[in-house]
Symmetry: C2
Subunit: 613 residues, 2 copies
Amino acid sequence: MPSNIRNENEVDVLVIGAGPAGLMAAFALARAGVNVRIVDKRPDKVSAGQADGIQPRTLEVFKSYGLSDRLLREGTQLHVAAFYNPSKDGLGIELTDRVPDVSSTDTNFPFEAPLPSIQLTLHQGAIEAIFLDSMRDMGLEVRRPVLPISIEVQAQADSEERDAYPVRVVLKHADTEETETVHAKYVLGADGAHSWVRKMTGIAMQGEQTEYVWGVVDLVAETDLPDIRNKCAIHSNNGSCMIIPREGDKVRLYIQLDGKEVVDDAGRVDKSRCGPEMILDVARKTLHPFTIESPQTYDWWTIYAIGQRVAERYIVHDRVFIAGDACHTHSPKAGQGMNASMQDSYNLAWKLAHVLKGTAHRNLLQTYELERRHYAQELIAFDKKFAKLFSGKPYSELNLDGVSHAEFLKAFQTFGGFTSGLGVQYPESIIITSNQNQHLAKNVLVGRRLVPCPLLRAADCRPTDLHDLLVSDTRFKLLVFTGDTHEPSQMAQVEAFAQALMTPDSDSKNFFGGFSSLERIRSVLDVVTISSEKKGTIMYNRLPRALWSHWSKVLVDDLDMRGTTGGKVYESLGIDPAGAVIVVRPDAYVAAIAPLNGASEIGTYFANFMKAT
Amino acid sequence: MPSNIRNENEVDVLVIGAGPAGLMAAFALARAGVNVRIVDKRPDKVSAGQADGIQPRTLEVFKSYGLSDRLLREGTQLHVAAFYNPSKDGLGIELTDRVPDVSSTDTNFPFEAPLPSIQLTLHQGAIEAIFLDSMRDMGLEVRRPVLPISIEVQAQADSEERDAYPVRVVLKHADTEETETVHAKYVLGADGAHSWVRKMTGIAMQGEQTEYVWGVVDLVAETDLPDIRNKCAIHSNNGSCMIIPREGDKVRLYIQLDGKEVVDDAGRVDKSRCGPEMILDVARKTLHPFTIESPQTYDWWTIYAIGQRVAERYIVHDRVFIAGDACHTHSPKAGQGMNASMQDSYNLAWKLAHVLKGTAHRNLLQTYELERRHYAQELIAFDKKFAKLFSGKPYSELNLDGVSHAEFLKAFQTFGGFTSGLGVQYPESIIITSNQNQHLAKNVLVGRRLVPCPLLRAADCRPTDLHDLLVSDTRFKLLVFTGDTHEPSQMAQVEAFAQALMTPDSDSKNFFGGFSSLERIRSVLDVVTISSEKKGTIMYNRLPRALWSHWSKVLVDDLDMRGTTGGKVYESLGIDPAGAVIVVRPDAYVAAIAPLNGASEIGTYFANFMKAT
């Protein structure tokens, strides 16, 4: 045992569990400068199999941390969803349709940029490695194998006192049998479907076990199926199958199994009754007349029964949280699991960072449960509908009650916004306004993540999506749509806004007026200024200096120099020509819309949960 | 001195000089599996200043080696060329125009992809670091400081014998004063404008010194010039200036100086007579009414007189080569120097690799001088014209002989294909055919690098540019444009072609029939198959197996699944609906066009310089 582990330690946040949810939390907190520790009971990280789908919204989040290059390089891109159904001769299956794998979330936004709309596959171990390597660069390592022994939330838990360490956790280092006591300000249980933290805090799961049993196998497939490199949903008269291409030449097959054959008397899956060959045999019947050979080795396989459950609470005493599989379990079909888990802790991390830094009140933390439990409930509802359609017998003249391709495709596309993660909607709260100013930005949906906005940097005409500036640095972002700054009267409006909002110690009684310096304001609020002036004439340095901390933060709504991308963002978002200000949260969700003369409105929004410093 | 340096060593290729030309050569040869050594007389690599421009064609070459990500991440992108000219009031300068920095090379190809058309700036040291890191991964290090003492080409130089080491070079390790003798099959002198190899082999430079003296300074500029992040060409009544944005917030200023003030009696630049402040003072007069403050420190600066010269030969005895500044010197204005140098050795490396592996005859090597000296002569001709325009006084009512903006812009755009590197044309030779079959691919220019062709992978509809498959692996690429493979008669043609060309030991008397296996053919010739069938119906695995070594090598000419990019490549290239085969060299230059029944024509092309193995 390393000698630097003492028996009593203090830490701001202790993360228990180093799967995707725990690693995202530890990484995001460390990046935000929070003192964090992470432990896991397993001796090593996942090396193969497990979760594999990366939804477009997750890719966006990785990009906001500068981590998407590696995901894109290592992952397999899915562009096509192919549908196979019984052929007319009734003897097997045939190709019915090939459609885009990710359907547009919202017809208002036909310009969703290519990058975030790609679905990727990459095995869980590779994703964990991205976090582990980035954490190591910041001096943070997962301590393992470490088991939690006890957890206790002490009396001062409700204190607003920032120096309180009210959560006491005893850990056992399994390799040395030594124990240590950790005093934490906050604890996150990201310890999986059988969460110890959840059990110890007495949080119940709500929902039920389903009748569905799934077999999953990873292999390099020798096959004549022409869509083996596409996502395939196959409905045959002999069962259903889903194919997901993986890294290199690997694929994953999902097969629904007959529960009776693999479930024991107690209702649990009995792995001794089955194996990958059994799964492949079922796949062969479904794929006929296409063939698939048995490989030399199987990369990974599993069989499991599906529960559809959500935790009744995500937070205890505002001090202990659970995230990921500890909160929700469901089927694997829509590739949601790992994504939902990472999004849970991504949602929590920036809130914890603000509270720990003293820039926000503790009431901010409650929005974590509100937002993520709401999402999980929608996820289960979706899962129930989709599982039914997927498992149904295909429609035919002999089976008029069956699921037709049109019906299945419609469901696939309807849920596209949800399964891509791009259309997730958070409910109204202290950080999501009721949206009084929709007329100023007609197509901007408050409570959803901001859509991609292809613009140009004014100073050098480099194509820049707004998301390139919505980096995950825990700062709120103020998007100042100035209107046409070539007009002197409009420029005067912009100057007045800058004066009213971005000037500390002003007489305006504005919330930000209470900050001690412009630097302090900028430490919680970055400003991006977007003019509707054209690239040929704009002089970025004529815009008020308080509205851009660097020349790269002034954008114009125009086509790029090649005339091929960018522009029409004012039109697409429905921005009022007189200008508008959009408040975007640190996680890129739209929080509020205000007019250019709405500095006090914006101040009121922040005063609800933020402290002037 | 490390003990593993013996006094007598053998090596396939010895590279003398580790600047951009030498490093590209050593890297490219090592990547091709060639036994190479590289030495340099300087104790360290360049750390600041020097060359900085990366032209689009160079970016393409880096991409073909998988090295472009780092260039794009570290480099600054230039999108705009801004032009400033005397303002109407005559008191200073004003913005005249902003145009794309890279103009399209050829109006036949409006679809040039965004990536390769970006001009980047990145300092020479960073570019050298990319090579050094990649070489280190292959176990190759630059030995320094090492001085060459003597070079001697022995009698067996002209031998076709692959095991001959006819070049004898004595090296001195400057740190230990020890010498060693290297016996090399080939030697490359990439040792700069004052090349020792050039002098020792008695190669003369042809051309002249110019009257132009330039001052160059790198700094972080505090200025109110709104185009400080764009490339600026500034013509004032007080002189000319060029601004090039660099990494971070740095910029480089190029100023033409009065030769009399800085040149000594012998005509050499006297650096003691000037400094960066002097350069900046001249810039201030040119930029008025815009201001520029003196920085705390200057990153780098230099002053130099320009020679416009080309070496009379690039090759001695087909065994010793020179490349880069050793072959050509010219002005820095078009950012050509480092690019031309790397392209020299990129051109040479694949030819040397084939000769050393025994897959090509030694006659291939002569094309190096033919192609790169031809290019250097064009470069000097361009430089003369452009320098005159750049240095000229601006046109005004008082100076009717001056250079007008329209005239300067026209020259800037006319030379765009050349300065971007995308429009370089190699002359006819044993590896560039006279292009008998233009009608089969009307817009494909033999002797030029293949233009970007946005296609889709048939198996998974992933957007893929043909250049993504034109990797620098020393293999020639056969682009088989099959026509519509949905038509059985067309498919029969494609099958016949595969049989005639890609079948070893056939009775066809075809050159590739003489190879001992399909694998041997593929070791020198990769095949990419491009169908005009549509993505919704194509079954990639129905195409002849000999025409794709992997599922990723079958492409379709269609829009991507989002309907935004790709397609119309048959139309843009003017491909005959009956199909066509395009032979592309290992460096992505188009070598020949043939019909689908032209297997023997293709064989004849290769038989000119290649050996069946």
